[in-house]
Symmetry: C2
């Protein structure tokens, strides 16, 4: 495989789609090699997949991945090797990198993710310091981690067109902060390279733009290996002008849900799938699994009760939601110990470097698993003894995972297109302030 051999939660035979992807390995890798000659992958990313058996689709792509601490430690050398490639590609001459994380200072899970990213970067050969945008961090602040390690957060400063720490002038800045609250002026019009670029932040980014780019990628990929692109791509549409509190736009939303459910029903009939369609309504600029609902009928978005309205109206950083994406729901047929599971695949540069299962014991196969109560099960390397037998056998776990890595990389390619196309959406500081 061109990706780490992982165990998957599914152990049954591969479905047609996975078999087809596996059988087209040389064509697929040749195609990716050519795509990466034309398009630059983001520095890193993670992709949420859902495997319904009849369909293996990406449902979300994160350009500021948390959760590196959840990867299997066996993948660490792969992460380092891929980060070396990313540094060489983006900034071969860089010596010093400033990592800007989220403002959380008490979320130990998140801080362990930051520590994992720092370790990967340091070992790939660059000096790393951590700069915080958190207004509470006014002096270097040491945060202890459960594993005995610690992080030193230091306040970010601006000097002319450069950002820096008091005694550290970075060559390049890596964001692990998704900028949900808007692009802070300290990050605008900066001379240093920002990775990923500012338009990757949720202040600018929209899920609908990502999935529009994915439509194109899935179409081309479908042509390449001869599949209906629908089997890797969920239907979606965007609804804007919503106000969940005043119920403005409610009927538009219901119509969009109805449309997605109808299209899905037709596809289910076409492919002989005996399932009830459902739709996912998500904030178009949302993350952290906030502002998400799963509906089986347009009626369910009409006359939301106060609790539902509150849930949908506000996402991370208290932002109000007026734009949503309505996405065809993809049931997940994967289970770990009888709990519903969905794979999350991690990439650095254009390489799959690991993944884990998001598992929720209290949710069903048609529900959002990115919710309180979820836990993570790192995907492990398949036992080495499986590997040599794999070449001809499509039903081994390593082969199943190859298909996951392919769909994740298609999402990465869509993100590359999306970032190219949305470059002009970041206003220079003068206009932004004016």
């Amino acid at each position: 495989m061109s990706v780490p051999h992982l165990t998957t939660a599914l152990t049954g035979p591969l479905h047609d789609l996975e078999r087809k992807i596996l059988g087209s390995l040389p064509e697929i890798e040749h195609w990716f090699r050519n795509q990466w000659q034309e398009h630059t992958p983001p520095f890193y990313g993670s992709v949420d997949l859902r495997n319904a058996g009849f369909k293996l689709a990406q449902v979300d792509m994160n350009l500021f991945p948390g959760g590196f601490n959840n990867l299997n430690p066996d993948f660490h050398p792969l992460c380092v090797q891929a980060a070396m490639m990313a540094l060489e590609g983006f900034c071969p001459d860089a010596r010093r990198l400033l990592l800007i994380p989220e403002n959380h200072t008490r979320n130990l899970f998140y801080l362990q993710n930051v520590a994992a990213i720092v370790r990967i970067l340091r070992q790939s050969g660059i000096m790393v310091r951590i700069g915080s945008l958190n207004p509470d961090i006014t002096a270097p602040t040491r945060l202890d981690l459960p594993d005995g390690g610690c992080l030193l957060l230091e306040p970010v400063q601006r000097q002319g067109r450069r950002i820096r720490l008091a005694d550290f002038d970075p060559c390049v800045v890596l964001l692990n902060n998704d900028l949900s609250a808007g692009i802070p002026s300290i990050l605008r019009d900066v001379d240093q390279m920002l990775l990923p670029p500012l338009q990757a932040g949720w202040a600018v980014r929209r899920k609908t733009r990502h999935f529009a780019a994915f439509d194109q990628v899935a179409h081309d990929f479908g042509d390449l290996i001869g599949i209906d692109p629908w089997v890797i791509n969920p239907y979606f549409s965007g609804v804007s002008g919503l106000d969940f509190q005043t119920r403005e736009g409610e009927q538009c939303l219901a119509d969009a849900v109805s449309d997605i459910l109808n299209k899905t029903r037709l596809k289910y009939a076409e492919h002989g799938i005996d399932e009830q369609p459902f739709a996912i309504v998500k904030a178009d600029a949302g993350t952290y699994g906030m502002g998400v609902m799963s509906v089986k009928s347009p009626d369910e978005v009409i006359g939301l009760n106060r609790k539902q309205r509150n849930k949908m109206a506000v996402v991370k950083e208290g932002l109000e939601v007026s734009e949503v994406i309505v996405q065809e729901g993809v049931p997940t047929f994967e289970q770990i110990n009888a709990a519903v599971a969905e794979p999350v695949i991690y990439m650095i540069d254009r390489f799959v470097v690991g993944g884990f299962y998001r598992v929720h014991t209290g949710r069903g196969p048609d529900e959002n698993l990115n919710a309180p109560g979820m836990h993570f099960v790192p995907l492990a390397f398949a036992t080495p003894s499986n590997t040599p037998d794999c070449d001809g056998r499509p039903d081994c776990q390593a082969n199943r995972f190859y298909a996951y890595g392919v769909v994740a990389r298609l999402a990465l390619l869509a993100a590359a297109l999306e970032l190219e196309e949305s470059e002009d959406l970041v206003q220079p500081l003068a206009e932004a302030v004016a």
Copy 2:
């Protein structure tokens, strides 16, 4: 680390050199990034190291590595990722690769190496077939392997300026045949890309040219991290015009040995090393550990007996030896189960992808271990639980291995320079035949 975490045979504290290399990680990786902007690494290679504690030196660099079957299977995904990079760098548009192995058809160890290379290449996304130069292979020939797999060898054909199989026109040709017997005319003036290029074969290559390039690399690296380059670089000189059977040139050889021993003695005194110097005499175009002797005095190369003469006079493919390299011997202080061991590091593109120990229970620390009776112990990943503690502790195994990877990559860089400089040494077919 920027290389796989491996266990090493040594478990004592790191020596000064290893500590210095580890402490300079960001500078070293920055330097390598810049070197690889200027110079293209060979497709693959393996490097023999000797760790004397006071010295950690490369003693041989192989551009047609065998032994991929001896790598720990845990490294397989790293190999695949690195091979993806190599394909993308050398031939992004290639779809079909022809692998040309050595002519051995009964050496099961070697055939398993070929199978391992095929698996890496296929999984990195290219169609692979095996073309044999062996005159006995006149039709497709299936060879069974001990693990239940098999290899299909097919006769290489020439068609105009292309080489091919009957029904396979490759875009690129990967040599795992070191061309000791000379460059066959079927490989000359070929339009396809040959990897590595023909001047990498022992028909053209000389160890003395490699170590001349390594002198430059070691010098620059010594400046970078502030070490005497001697601690990573053995003294050497070349002697030509030898005839072991008629004893022609014998005195020249003795003088060269004397010179290397004297220089080494001075360095030992300068560094306060209480060891007896020795020298290694090797065929300048030799491989497979053939034509090697270890001497402690110039007298030992005067008046060789018949057995010694026969051993030195002829190497692989029955070639006569008239040129040798006299190299400062580097004792190995590494042992596995009380047997003398030396690490062999494998690289694909510019990445360390694994390694193993060459172990010999019947040889001493100042002897060549590449000899009948040797066996191999794959280096394993360090247990993941060691990893998080490593950052600050220079005495953990993963940290020791980082130094090994650095020296191996210096040898790879020297090979890149050597191949650039020796490009003109391959004669076009017309001249070669004339």
